[in-house]
Amino acid sequence: MADNVAKLKNNTSAVRPNENLFIETLKRLLRNNSARAGLVILGFLLFIFIFAPQLAPYEPNEILLDRPNGIIPRLPPCSAIFGCTDGPQFLMGLDGNGRDIYSRVLYGSRLSLPVGLAAVSISIFFGSVIGLVSGFYGAWVDNIIMRIMDVLMAFPSLLLAIAIVTVLGPGLINALIAIAIVAIPTYARLVRASVLSLKEQEFILAERALGASNRRIMFTQILPNSLTPIVVQGTLGIGTAVLDAAALSFLGLGAQPPAAEWGRMLGDAIDFFRAAPHMAIFPGIAIMLTVLGFNLLGDGLRDALDPRLKKS
């Protein structure tokens, strides 16, 4: 019963033109546990992203080996906060080149977050255009575009990204492009599905009767109405993009040394993690937190924005 009432409420709020739609959605979002957890994590990361220079005791690429007092490469963590008073104080220890891992992890947020956001924005842009055209024009246009999307989806996404970066050459920007290309079919399919269900509805027919052009209908009527699934998928997609970017950097195809990129830092740790586990532990936690934050927010958004999607 309570369930039905809630459904009814949601339906009416979706139909009625509501000035406070944004605020209402936000309220619903804040009532959702996973969204709240996601927002807390992302808020924390945003804080680190903005204040990294203030929070970090050293420059990310500063080599500290020339300082006295027993500083050696891969020095394990030692901090008075955790009861380690003798020895040089480094919260997360040093890496193989004698750089402060804590500072590098903080600065890493300035690479991973923008890369995730940028990759997803590119995918959404191209995916939406392709999906709109495909769904709107139908027939052979749709057929050809969707078969191309099928082929792209036939590759395991990381493998295709690796292949693309191999062609483009290693580097963080190229990795970003590869990750964006690989994700385009997901958004194209999503938008196409929305278009197909929307284009026969009365308000589109009405618009057409008023003499609106195809382009006008696509961009002012259909696209805004198919935003919900894109927002949800996009939020979840940022997590995936961050993970894939880390993986490509780990393989040596993304960020190049000496960039303080989390995946790259894990790649640097690969030969030493038995003797110096701290080199691997902290960058990995940073990646995990970031991805977790976006995943939780995405799940929450899905529940808040579109109760119909809840079950899938």
Binding site: T166, A247, I270, M288, V291
Partner: protein
């Protein structure tokens, strides 16, 4: 059913063609002269002319594509620059390790993920459910190569130093908790099934399919009844399989949960309860059976995670599969290997999805009648 099978097979032909087109273009788009890239210092003009003729590089692009398809069908994926062997041989030698790893990972993910999902749906909104969902959320957020490293740190490095009542753990019955992380035991010629069963008497008589099968360490040990080797190889597979299987496990658990939650609300479950059936029977026989249908698809779709997991973890665990090969090829800029691995995994992906679809059609008649 036959009609459904044929339709499904025909549908995959354009996709396969597209995959070939993509991998072909990758090979052509790579900057630089393929002959110089492949043969390096040995490439004189004459050798390069011969090379171009062999791979049809002196022909127009559409014909080159035709030649590429011909070569692929014949099993010729080009020559690996860094390994100095044909890519096909390299893959044949190293695929079994990856297949064993991905199979072990998906088995692990399924036998833990499905019960976890059932439990959490059945105890919806209790601490069991919340805990499962937290774990599965964290599971999908971890970089798989990081998880591999953490597992090694815990089970191979730290665990060795654990003392139980003053005895080192390796001398107690809990010693199985100390897990190996390095290269699995190498299988000697005498341990291979064709040698054990006297199918061949010396190295030169080994035919390719025998060699291929014998490289499945677990399978080979099981066929020959060499249980010592089997257990050793199995122990080496545990940590990598857990690392690779964690993302699929989380996804399977979530999918099972949401699907079962839905089917527990169906009328036929209420009917079953009203008939007075035992709760266990209602859940397992009526609800779970129907809920597992979508899970089958999800298991198939996880192949992508499995293969990227293998690519990212084999190096960490020193397993010589195609993942490690790809890693080495990337480092050495060995494009033919990258191209070959991409092609083979994509084709495998298409076939696995096809098998899943067919299985789904078999399990759910509605699908094939659509």
């Amino acid at each position: 059913m036959t009609k459904f099978l044929i339709r499904r097979l025909v549908l995959s032909i354009p996709v396969l063609f597209g995959i070939l087109l993509v991998t072909f273009s990758l090979g052509r788009l790579i900057p630089g002269d393929p002959c110089l890239a492949q043969l390096g210092e040995r490439a004189t003009d004459e050798i390069c002319d011969a090379f171009d003729r062999r791979y049809g590089l002196d022909q127009p692009i559409p014909i080159q594509f035709g030649i590429y398809i011909q070569n692929v069908v014949r099993g010729d994926l080009g020559l690996s620059l860094s390994f100095q062997v044909p890519v096909t041989d390299l893959l044949a030698e190293r695929l079994p390790t990856t297949i064993e790893l991905t199979l072990a990972a998906i088995i692990f993910a399924t036998i833990i993920g499905i019960p976890l999902g059932i439990l959490s749906a059945y105890r919806h909104n209790t601490w069991v459910d919340v805990l499962t969902m937290i774990i599965s959320n964290i599971g999908v957020s971890m970089p798989v190569f990081w998880l591999g490293i953490i597992l090694i740190i815990i089970f191979s490095v730290q665990m060795q130093d654990v003392m139980i009542f003053g005895t080192p753990i390796e001398e107690t019955p809990l010693s199985f908790l100390v897990l190996p992380s390095g290269r699995p035991p190498s299988v000697r010629f005498d341990d291979r099934f064709y040698a054990v069963y006297n199918l061949v008497t010396d190295d030169s008589e080994v035919v390719p399919w025998m060699e291929f099968i014998s490289r499945f360490t677990l399978l080979n040990a099981a066929i020959t009844g060499n249980w010592e080797l089997f257990i050793e190889a199995f122990r080496h597979l545990i940590l990598p399989a857990v690392a690779v299987g964690t993302i699929p496990l989380s996804i399977i658990a979530r999918m099972t949960r949401s699907s079962l939650l839905e089917s527990l609300n169906q009328d036929y479950v209420r009917t079953a309860r009203a008939k007075g059936l035992k709760e266990r029977r209602v859940v397992m026989r009526h609800a779970v059976r129907n809920a597992l249908l979508p899970v089958v698809t999800i298991i198939g779709l996880n192949f992508g995670f499995l293969i990227s997991g293998a690519v990212l973890t084999e190096t960490i665990f020193r397993l010589t599969g195609i993942g490690k090969t790809l890693f080495e090829a990337i480092t050495a800029r060995d494009y033919t290997v990258v191209q070959g691995v991409t092609l083979v995994t994509a084709i495998a992906f298409v076939f696995i999805n096809m098998i899943v679809d067919i299985l789904y059609g078999y399990l759910d008649p509605r699908v094939r009648l659509e």
